[in-house]
Symmetry: C2
Subunit: 310 residues, 2 copies
């Protein structure tokens, strides 16, 4: 079976000064996730490793470098899902956790629940010995400045997104040598969000979905719009009805634009190794490791490649 791993670093109007670091970051994360797959890791191991790399990279809005909420605090959301069993774990509004994707995996593997929120998620983290980090360690100077700017000038979330001040979400999808698919998504949410705001990322079928019978998806973009159309599930519904992963993504993002005026992006992989990286925002940093090729892009219709093994 072909092994494929695709990552995204968020669909938004990525400014030129962040472009090179964003592209380098998704390429490095795809390489890392792909090396896990090639060392006999499962699709689940691959997407977790790739998303951890993105969470650890301060250029992306997840883990270190996440956006701040209206109170100037970091509240993180993440999901992971195993297409083999539909097992899933998610955390929302969790604080002081450097790698929420791994805490989401612990929810999946160590509890009988699917999602834990807020203090409860932090209590669980403590009970299983997950290290916490001081909030300051997750906050970058860049995000602190953006937070101050928002407080002065921007009235609402939709306005923030439409004025292209969003900073969005990371994710990964993979199919392993056994044909199992998995997805993972992680985010700090939208800048200056209300305390307790839960976006699409941790919501199953919205920020991500994985089912061996159709494929795996990770979404990014205006979270409230993605929620309203349950974007990940919508894309896979089209795949189930015979559409290619590229057509299914395009159709679903177009529907989201028409029905709720929202822009975003998605990465998809099918159990047979078909994949797509699609977006309706100005840019989305993405990279895909397939055979010995690393594909990547940032601007619409851009599809560059280089050798994976270097």
């Amino acid at each position: 079976m072909p092994m494929v791993l695709v990552v995204h670093g968020g669909a938004w109007a990525i400014p030129d000064e962040l472009a090179p670091a964003s592209v380098d970051g998704v390429k490095a994360a795809a390489r890392h996730g792909s090396s896990v797959l090639k060392s006999e890791g499962s699709a689940l191991d691959g997407v977790e490793a790739a998303v951890r790399a993105l969470e650890d990279n301060t250029v992306f809005n997840a883990g270190h470098g996440a956006t701040l909420n209206i109170d100037g605090e970091v509240e993180l959301d993440a999901i992971i899902m195993d297409g083999r069993t539909l097992a899933s774990g998610a955390v929302s509004c969790v604080k002081n956790i450097a790698n929420p994707v791994s805490l989401a995996r612990a929810v999946m593997e160590k509890t009988s629940h699917v999602m834990l929120a807020g203090n409860g998620a932090n209590q669980f983290a403590e009970s299983i010995g997950v290290n916490t980090v001081p909030t300051d360690k997750l906050v970058t100077e860049y995000e602190k400045k953006e937070w101050e700017k928002h407080n002065k000038y921007i009235a609402g979330v939709m306005e923030a997104f439409n004025t292209k001040w969003a900073h969005d979400t990371v994710g990964a999808v993979a199919v392993d040598s056994a044909g199992n698919v998995a997805c993972a998504t992680s985010t700090g949410g939208i800048r200056n969000k209300m305390v307790g705001r839960v976006g699409d990322s941790p919501c199953i079928g919205c920020g991500g979905y994985a089912d061996n019978s159709s494929g795996a998806v990770s979404c990014t973009g205006h979270g409230e719009s993605i929620l309203k159309v349950t974007l990940a599930r919508l894309i896979l519904s089209h795949v189930e009805q015979g559409r290619s992963v590229a057509d299914a993504s395009q159709l679903s993002l177009q529907h989201m634009g028409e029905r709720v005026q929202g822009a975003g992006g998605a990465i998809v992989v099918s159990p047979s190794g078909q994949w797509a990286a699609t977006f309706t925002t100005e840019r989305m940093a993405w990279a895909a490791a397939e055979d010995d090729v690393l594909w990547f892009g940032l601007n619409p219709k851009e599809k560059l490649k280089e050798k994976l093994s270097q």
Copy 2:
């Protein structure tokens, strides 16, 4: 256009001693919601009114009379959704709120977000002047005893559900005279759940979904299973492909049983007024107001009726 309003009081092994009060409760809620529709209320007004009635009735696991989490506290989840615009509001893990469905509606109407969790949801409630109630006021003697019993005898949530100690979720769906559909779902979750556990109820596409192009659904049953198959969205996907609301519900619940070994129930209404109340648990209390008839049932294949106007 035909106006229809359907409610459920949860799909589970309702014990005989709770059966009459459960049936009376859903009938009263359906009458109440229906009267709102007939007084030119929207589908949204109708489902909110019906669910408030169920939340206020201590026989159901929502609002007053909700189940307790492992710490003996009440944490409530709710969602409401407008099929006209796909606008949606949800709260998860909220405390000291008597009518979470109305708080969910406020999230939809007064914020740019879709879901607020935990402390953030409570902060929002305070900011808009929603009255809080002391935890004790939401806790019934019945649930306090069940909590103690669980602490002694029951190891996990899945076991609780399989041993039929669950106590589940309320919901309503409606179509109004303009052909707009809406859904609402509200719950205390599963008995002795972990602190911060979010079930299917507040998750869009899982505990509920409403879209004028297909219909409105409210789900109940084993929350983690409903999440894994995004049950509400799955049912409406089948409707979109031409299935009747009854067949779509049956097929989706069957899929949930086969794929993730979960039981549950769903109520569905289409924009043209077709409706269904379907379950794979032992019982589900439901009632449907249609024209001048009140349909209701509790056991499989039971469909009783009486005059709506009395």
